[in-house]
């Protein structure tokens, strides 16, 4: 049996409604910022529950543009998570600011308890990352932000409809950035991103920044970027938006199914604590195993036809490209430990119970010959 990670072929098995939209688009030629983009922005804002949504070229840009719009720039510090995808740190770096990492919790997102200590005179923004589709403890983030008067830009790239105490991720701070990359829960056929905000002034600034700073065709108010969600991709997004709630529920359901099985494997497999006040959207389903068993488990799963992955094996602060930030091995012990222990299994909405059973069975099979070492 093969259990694939990418489900795009299943997802777009009947692409006719999308092609119909593309045919219409080709007639009008409104390829950049056409009415399809506006429609998508309206629908996305409604889905997440904000006043505004702004379509941009990628999830990276969806983080970069709000920071820029808030006036974060050269030499400023932005506090973010040590365990995240490079795009979070890349967005901060791109505008000339410096990443200040903080360590992880057992549930793979930044430890908000460590936030206050990380604030310095140079801190200009906080960027919590709802990594894997798991919300950061936002009460604590909001408390620190308020205490120091710092804006929050949420990295919600992996967390569409991820929910903390009844509020959707991306809507807590000044702005939230989402990715529409083909592997995301709400995905288009290329790079794509969207920013949400309730602040109308920020919305206006972001619209300028994504389109060269153009006030109109001829007048340019600020130096801006070229970062637009393509109309053709908005067509794909518009088709998917009505399905997003179902997609999220299906992923939660699949995760619960894994949880039920793996929670019986105490000592072999360690699951993150499931906090009752959050609703994950399971962009990724991760669990931990003993460090010395991880790579062999991964190999066993891959050899068994299961496309298991590691998100990510090398923490950002240990990457060659980030060495100049001055961190040293051991600065983020929780992140380090997780990087050596985590495994991701497919959890998408197109995954069948049969495929899940096979994944569970293979994990059980692997551990049949091993000792219980996951806690160490």
């Amino acid at each position: 049996m093969k259990v694939r990670y990418s489900y795009l072929q299943q997802q777009f098995a009947n692409p006719e409604p999308i092609f119909e939209g593309i045919r219409e688009l080709l007639k009008t030629g409104a390829f950049t910022l056409g009415p399809q983009v506006e429609e998508f922005e309206g629908k996305f804002a409604k889905l997440i529950g904000t006043k505004h949504a702004i379509g941009v070229a990628s999830g990276t840009d969806a983080l970069k543009l709000p920071l820029k719009a808030l006036g974060v720039g050269h030499g400023d510090e932005v506090i973010t998570a040590a365990n995240t995808f490079i795009a979070t740190a890349g967005a901060i770096n791109e505008i000339g600011a410096v990443c200040k990492f903080i360590d992880s919790t057992p549930y793979y997102v930044m430890d908000a308890e460590l936030l206050e200590k990380a604030v310095t005179k140079k801190t200009k923004a906080i960027m919590p990352v709802h990594f894997t589709g798991e919300p950061v403890e936002m009460d604590q983030v909001m408390y620190v932000a308020k205490k120091f008067g710092l804006p929050i830009v949420e990295d919600a790239c992996q967390s569409i409809l991820c929910n903390y105490k009844g509020t959707n991720c991306g809507t807590f701070g000044a702005a939230g950035g989402f990715s529409l990359h083909p592997l995301k829960n709400l995905n288009v056929w290329s790079d794509g991103g969207v920013i949400v905000t309730n602040d109308s002034e920020l919305d206006a600034k972001l619209r300028l920044l994504r389109n060269h700073g153009l006030k109109n065709r001829d007048e340019i108010s600020v130096f801006g970027y070229n970062s637009r969600l393509d109309s053709i991709q908005a067509i794909v997004g518009n088709w998917l938006i009505p399905q997003t709630v179902d997609i999220t529920n299906k992923r939660r359901d699949n995760a619960a199914y894994y949880d039920a099985a793996f929670s019986k494997m105490d000592g072999f497999v360690e699951l993150a604590p499931r906090r009752p006040h959050v609703k994950q959207c399971y962009h990724l389903y991760m669990f931990e195993v003993a460090e010395k068993q991880r790579d062999s488990l991964l190999k066993f799963l891959v050899d068994s036809g299961i496309e298991a992955k590691v998100h990510y094996p090398i923490p950002l602060y240990q990457q060659e490209g980030l060495r100049h930030l001055g961190y040293k091995a051991g600065d983020f012990p929780v992140t380090d430990r997780q990087a050596k222990r985590i495994v991701s299994l497919p959890v998408d909405q197109h995954l069948s119970r049969k495929e899940q059973d096979y994944c569970i069975q293979k994990v059980q099979e692997f551990f049949a010959g091993h000792s219980r070492e996951a806690k160490h």
């Binding site: 593309i22 490079i86 791109e94 790079d191 109309s231």
Partner: protein
């Protein structure tokens, strides 16, 4: 008679089957990010320009930003360019914290080579000539200065794919060159897209990683990068269009020739020098009573444009650069006199003649 400035629906009719086929093929494979057609298009584009490398990116602004980043340009550095361009030439410089140093243009709307040396300081890290309107800048002269002063050249070839000046093809002369493949360009995608060409192994490698988060592979990051990738779908759309590009350019050149013959002595037409191959991304006349002419033509159903009515140094975004009216007299004079006539490849000769007749008529009354 209607003479539209662009005609996407006609382009779609002519390429409908191959366009949809390309999109379906990509969709069925699902390699939406840096997939098969991206590599194919890059190889075909590099071959067309004659460079070792071509790197597909998200748009023609990011391409400029990433090239300058690859050069190590930092806040405080200066980059020489022209003030009559699309905003990206200057904004790409400003966005990385460097200072755009403007040099006025010549009659051909490209950088006035005789003014470049006076603009070079010890902070100058790059010269960015803009190949405006579909004609490349005077590259032989620019390269002579750049080599002597040891300053790298980044060609902003966004509007001039296929152009040649002094035997040098646009995209082949500089250390690297930036192209836009925006829907309005001669070689156009169905959304934002861009591409960089270079012969440098180091820059080719660096840019390939820059556009993809600085990643060496899935797990290792060598340096800070961007997310700026040419979409596979756009590459698939661009591949057949790249093959059609010579025909597109020939058609535009034929219309340009017709305009120039029909408008001689009435307005100033672009003059193509003997060593130039102009691709006429835009056909720009320079004339008196420009705004009235534009209005009169619009009333006849003729759509014209102005590229661009407000020079960059006089835009609000550039106020920190401290320029004032009169700093770049040729650019400013042209801004009030230029008018872009319809020249897309989907027009017919009688439409061109209708435009010519409209312009002649306007000036015969005034």
């Amino acid at each position: 008679m209607q003479v539209p400035y662009v005609n996407f629906s006609k382009q779609f009719q002519e390429t409908r089957e191959e366009t949809l086929k390309a999109v379906v093929a990509v969709m069925e494979r699902g390699d939406f990010i840096l997939g098969k057609e991206v590599q194919e298009f890059e190889a075909a584009f590099a071959k067309m320009v004659g460079t070792k490398y071509a790197i597909g990116v998200a748009n023609g602004t990011d391409s400029l930003i990433m090239c300058m980043k690859a050069l190590g340009i930092e806040p405080g550095d200066e980059v020489i360019t022209t003030p009559n361009s699309w905003i990206s030439s200057a904004s790409s410089i400003a966005l990385i914290g460097a200072r755009p140093v403007f040099v006025d243009v010549a009659d051909d709307q490209n950088i006035d080579v005789s003014l470049i040396e006076a603009a070079i300081t010890d902070k100058t890290q790059c010269i960015m000539p803009v190949h405006l309107t579909g004609r490349s800048s005077r590259m032989p002269e620019i390269l002579e200065i750049a080599q002597r002063r040891k300053i790298p050249v980044l060609e902003d070839a966004a509007q001039s794919v296929g152009a040649i000046t002094g035997g040098i093809k646009a995209g082949k002369g500089g250390l690297f060159s930036s192209f836009s493949l925006h829907p309005l360009k001669n070689l156009n995608a169905m959304g934002d897209a861009g591409i960089i060409t270079t012969d440098s192994d180091e820059m080719g490698m660096r840019l390939r990683m820059y556009r993809n988060h600085g990643m060496r592979n899935r797990d290792e990051i060598d340096f800070w990068g961007y997310n700026s990738r040419l979409d596979t779908i756009q590459a698939a759309v661009l591949l057949p269009r790249l093959r059609q590009l010579p025909d597109v350019i020939e058609k535009r050149r034929a219309f340009a020739k017709r305009y120039t013959a029909g408008l001689a002595g009435v307005v100033e037409c672009p003059v193509e020098r003997e060593d130039e191959f102009h691709t006429y991304h835009v056909y720009v006349i320079q004339c008196d009573k420009r705004d009235q002419l534009q209005k009169a033509l619009a009333e006849k159903g003729i759509e014209t444009k102005i590229h661009y009515p407000i020079p960059i140094h006089l835009q609000k975004c550039a106020k920190d650069l401290g320029h004032k009216k009169g700093d770049f007299p040729v650019t400013e004079r042209q801004a009030g006199r230029i008018l872009s006539l319809p020249i897309n490849q989907f027009l017919e000769n009688d439409q061109i003649d209708f435009v010519i007749q409209g312009i002649r008529e306007f000036y015969s009354h005034t």
